[in-house]
Each structure stands twice: as C-alpha cells, then as structure tokens.
Subunit: 373 residues, 2 copies
Amino acid sequence: MGLSPSVQRLPTTFPLDEILVGDCIASMNALPPSSVDCVFADPPYNLQLGEGGLLRPDHSFVDAVDDDWDKFATFEAYDTFTRAWLTAARRVMKPNATLWVIGSYHNIFRVGSALQDLGFWILNDIVWRKANPMPNFRGKRFTNAHETLIWASRSAESKGYTFHYEGLKGGNDDVQMRSDWFIPLCTGDERLKGADGLKVHPTQKPEALLARTLLSATNPGDVILDPFFGTGTTGAVAKRLGRRFIGCERDPVYADAARKRIDAVEPLSTAALLVAPTKRAEPRVAFLSVIEAGHIRPGEMLSDARGRHTAIVRPDGTLMAGPVAGSIHKIGALVQGLPSCNGWDFWHATRGGKPVLIDTFRAKMRAAMGSAA
Amino acid sequence: MGLSPSVQRLPTTFPLDEILVGDCIASMNALPPSSVDCVFADPPYNLQLGEGGLLRPDHSFVDAVDDDWDKFATFEAYDTFTRAWLTAARRVMKPNATLWVIGSYHNIFRVGSALQDLGFWILNDIVWRKANPMPNFRGKRFTNAHETLIWASRSAESKGYTFHYEGLKGGNDDVQMRSDWFIPLCTGDERLKGADGLKVHPTQKPEALLARTLLSATNPGDVILDPFFGTGTTGAVAKRLGRRFIGCERDPVYADAARKRIDAVEPLSTAALLVAPTKRAEPRVAFLSVIEAGHIRPGEMLSDARGRHTAIVRPDGTLMAGPVAGSIHKIGALVQGLPSCNGWDFWHATRGGKPVLIDTFRAKMRAAMGSAA
DNA sequence: CTCTAAGGTGAATCTCCTT
DNA sequence: CAAGGAGATTCACCTTAGA
C-alpha cells in the first residue's frame, strides 16, 4: 500500500473518538483484543462485472495509488478481502459485542457466508426499505428499493449482547420492532457536499439508519468501531447519542470531511439518553418481602383472575393449594397443569372486593426502594 | 430412501404438469438440457433450532420445523447440497430462463454465494414482507418479519429474460414494482390440512407470492420447474395462470396432497391473467420514525393541550415523565391516571409558540410514504 | 341471523442466575 | 459445568363458540 509510518497511526493509548487514517486491517490489528462493544461496517459493495472482472465504479478523487483497495477481479478476491477484515474486527470485539454489516445483493451473500464461516452468529437480517429509491430506468428489473443489514453476535455462545427491546417497542406504538425498517435516503442538508456542490461520498448512509442500529444494540458510553468510516456517519451519530467511536478510513479526503462534520455535532443531553431498566435488570423482590412489608397477610387467600384456582399464603412466603406447598410460581404452574408459570402475573389478592395482581405490590416496593436509594 | 425403480420416474417423454417423486437431482438430470423457462425453488432452510423447543408467553408450544429434511450437519454439507441442485437446475434451464430461490438468513447467504459462484447472474433480491409474522417471544431480537427471494438469470450474458415491466407497473398504481413485497402468510382455507386437522406441510408458501413471481417473469405456456415441490403451490399457481409445471418431490405424502390440490384448480381465462393489484400495507407509522424524519427532536418537551402535563422525547421514540419511560400511549395514560390513552391525540409539540398535535406530523409522513407503504 | 369473545397459530437459529 | 428454578415473554389473522 505504501502508507508512511506517520500516517499509519499505531496507538499506544486507546484511540477514542478518533479516525485512524490507513488500512483498516492494520489499524484494527493495532488495537487491543476484546476492546470494542459494537462494529458497524459499510464495506465497498458496488461490485460490477466489467470487461476484466468486478470493478467498483470510478471515483475521480480516489488517488490512483489506492486502486488496489476497492478493485476485485473475482468473487474469490472479494471473499479474501471480506474474511480478512471480518477476522480483524472479530478479534477486537468483546465477547458480547455485536457486528452490523450493510450491503446489497452484489455483496451481501458473500459477506453473510463469510461471517457464518468465521463463527459469527446471525441474530437478524434487517431490510432497510428506502422511502425514495432510484427507479430502474431501463425497465428490466424491479426497483431496487432496499439494502440488507446483517446483525450478528461474536459467536453462538454470546448470549449477553445488548438489545433494547423495550425501548424499541415503546417507540413503535407498543409493538415489537420488525426486521423491515422504512427510512428515507440521505439527502438534503444531511448530505455532505464539497465546494463544487458535488456529494463528497457516493454512498453516505442516512443518520436515521445509524441511529436506529446504535439505539438498538449499544449503551451510552459504548465504543463503536467502523472499519470503513467514509465521511463519518457512524461517528456523528455516536457522538450525538453519547457513544464513543473509532473510525478507520484510508482516504484522507474522507477523513477530513468526517472530522469537520463530527466536530460540529452537538451531543444530546444525558437526561435524554438515560436507559430505562428492563424488567430483568430491576432489583429482585422476594414474595416474602411483600408479606413482611404488610402488603399481603399470611393466611390470606389468593386466586387467579377468574377465581378458578385458589391458594393460601403461608408466613414463609410459600403458597399452599390443597396438600401441596411451594413457591408462587410452582403452585401457579401446578394448579394450571402447566410446566411453568410466573406467579407474579398469575395470582391476585382481593382488595375492596376486586382482584389485584400481586405484581402490583412488587411494583410499589420497587418504587419505594428507588426513592430510598 | 429405498425408492423402487418404478417409483423413480425416468421420463422418455417430457413430463409436463407432472410430479416426479424421488431425489430432485436425479429427476432433473433425467430431463433434457435447456428445456425449462423458469425455476422456482424453496429449498430446506437449515434452521439449526435448539434442542429445548420454544414456548409462547402463555406456555403453549411452538410447532417448529423439526423435519429431518431440514437437518444438515455443517454449513459445508449444506453448501454441497446447494451446489448440487443448483448445478442440476442450471443444466435444464434455457439460456434466457431465470431462477427464483426463497430463503431466510439461515440459508440465503449460502445460496446466494453458491449461485454467484456457479455463474448465475443476480437480477434482484426481493423481500417478502410478512403481514402477520410470528413474534419474537423472548424479546431478544427483532421480529423476523421477512424472507428473501433471489431472482437470477442463467448467466450475465442472458439479456433476453422475461420481465413484464409494464404489466407490473399497471397493477401497482402506475409506479414501478419495488423489490419489497407485502404479502400475508399462507393461512385459512388456502393452507392444506390433513384429516387430523393438522397442516400437511410445515412451510407451505402463499399463492400470492408465487403468482407475483410467475406473472413477473414467465409467459403463459412457459414451463416452470420446482425441485422442492412440497404440496405444490408452484403447480397450483402455474395451472391457474396458464403456465406448465414440472415438480420434483421426495416425499410421496406431499406429492399426493399436491396432486389432489392441483386437480381441483380451475385455470383462469386468458383475459383474467392480469397482475393482481398490490395489496397495500396499512401505513403504520412509528413515533420513532417521526423523530427520525426530523419532525420532532430528541430532548424536546411535549405537553398536553392545556400544558398541564409534560414529557421529554427520547431518541428511541419513548417519552420520559419524571423517572418513568414508555411509549407515547403509556406515558399519556400515566400522567392522566387513566388506564389507557392514545398518545397521538394527546401530546403536542410547540411550533411558533403554539401547540401542534403530534398526529399532525404522522399525517404528513403518511402522505409522503405514499406508494411505498 | 349477527356480533363478540375466546382460542389457535405461523420457516424461530428466542433467558439467566444460583447451586 | 450441569441442573434446576425464578420469572420474563406475543402480533396479526383466522376459526369457533357463545350470546
């Protein structure tokens, strides 16, 4: 490649919120292992079969010396390149980090196969449905109105990855966020333009797309690595959302544009970025504590919503149904003949003649614990 | 399998509108080369489901695909299988024939890579957006709400393939048909059920999906080959639309069901062979999308009509009132002390000193989404 | 008969902590 | 490290039962 050592930054300290100008594989290999929380990658994918093989469309501003970067004579060459950067990225991922890659039908099947071969575990493929796609001018195909993102964990054993299920559901009319996202292209003021009025980068991604990925799969303060930084959409969105970034970009012109762009970004207030705790992460409350706090009396009778099943509360926090005693969950499962049951969402106490779910009392205790802390 | 030679049909005449019971590769190899106009393939997806099974929140059991035909030991074994049937299919394709394959993220990247390696030329990838997908019961991923079809010609030199651009456009309110299709699952009367009331095949595809592919990429009288015929959706739709079919199916039970099904199909009159009008999705707009579109800023304060209640907009599309975060509906209900609330008709942003109902912004987006929904 | 309520179901790589 | 238990988790559509 012939990059001078001064340009190829080899960080002694961890390069937070910086752009590493140079080959992304060398830059990633210079980072310590297990050091980033998320990778977002928008690799070259304008593969087109020309006379001599697969070529990326010409970019006049790309230095001729740099041509090797994005020319791929064959699928095999593209696969070699893909495996190389995926391997380097996987090394710097923490065990529960996740990877996002975006592509189109030209390259996404190569990328998807490669990451499966390398041990990544696909969590979803996401379809970015473009609000305003380029029409198919010649009328020979369907309008290519989407691109595909792959979301993958580092391995099948990575069960602890970040996913803000409840937040996404809350922002989507209280139904689960689906795998198809409808988002407009990057146009207007958001699109970076040079002094000549031309777009600086041919494939600048919309910030809304990056925002949804980072809000889904990262926490404030997390480090996001982007091996193909371009004009820095990942960095701009990361800064605005209170995340940290590391960008790799081999073209100094893109890197400069990205730096200026990110400098101008105002981060959101930390108040707006607070992560609501998931139910699983909330403090445990024992059923016995609810009794001890006086919300439920020993000897009281609990029932299900329709009054078909009943059980007696014992002072040690177990229930008794007929001759059998056990936890609220076990007895709930037993009376229903089910393999399991969440007793908090099944049993009701009677208050003012009406059934009150016992989870209501737990919620009160959690609220009281919060104000006390 | 131990199929007897009499069952493994080796056609001396061309087997039009027949089901060849046996291994699809052997059946295809027994056909003359360059003899079919189109291939539609719904191969095993290699789902790799876990041992334990999956329960719904109400503890009922999810009837997953656990058939032996979907099990492969490794990705390598799946790739070998994929290359074998793709090679056999390619041999019988006419020079301008096209191939359709459907899959999910489990297998589609393997299939796409293999067919590129074999010389097929991808024309589009198509996203089947499911109207009614199965939810993600554990809240660990995005709802897997789509499957992917790849549409490919036999080679990059196949320029004369069939594509009914004008017909599709006419059936789509005179805008080009996009690469994302919104179609319901195969349920109700269309779903084949046995005498026991259970579904005959675990993965029967909707006829609407096949109809759109065949109307797009074949002519009346064309021969469509389906190497994984199953219960014969391809054959049923082909007959109804005045096309011919050849089906390969290993399981005689599926083949019998398919034969009976296809016998009952009434072909449409030629006058009726127009593109079915596009079924529009109801334009659901997430509050998050309103933020992404820039109509409302994260960190902004919303209030009710009289300014008695306020909440902060978070970047993920939830609201925060005091320490509690949730959807526009949940927080609206919370601040009013009501059991429920339509947040769209409750919360206002301030524009030019005046309160503007947030539903105003949703209406703007619906208008802008137009045909894409 | 109509209308409502309740129940079933679809290609799913679907938990996590403690003992 | 395996086993067991706590407890968290569903959307759109269709069919059937019941009023």
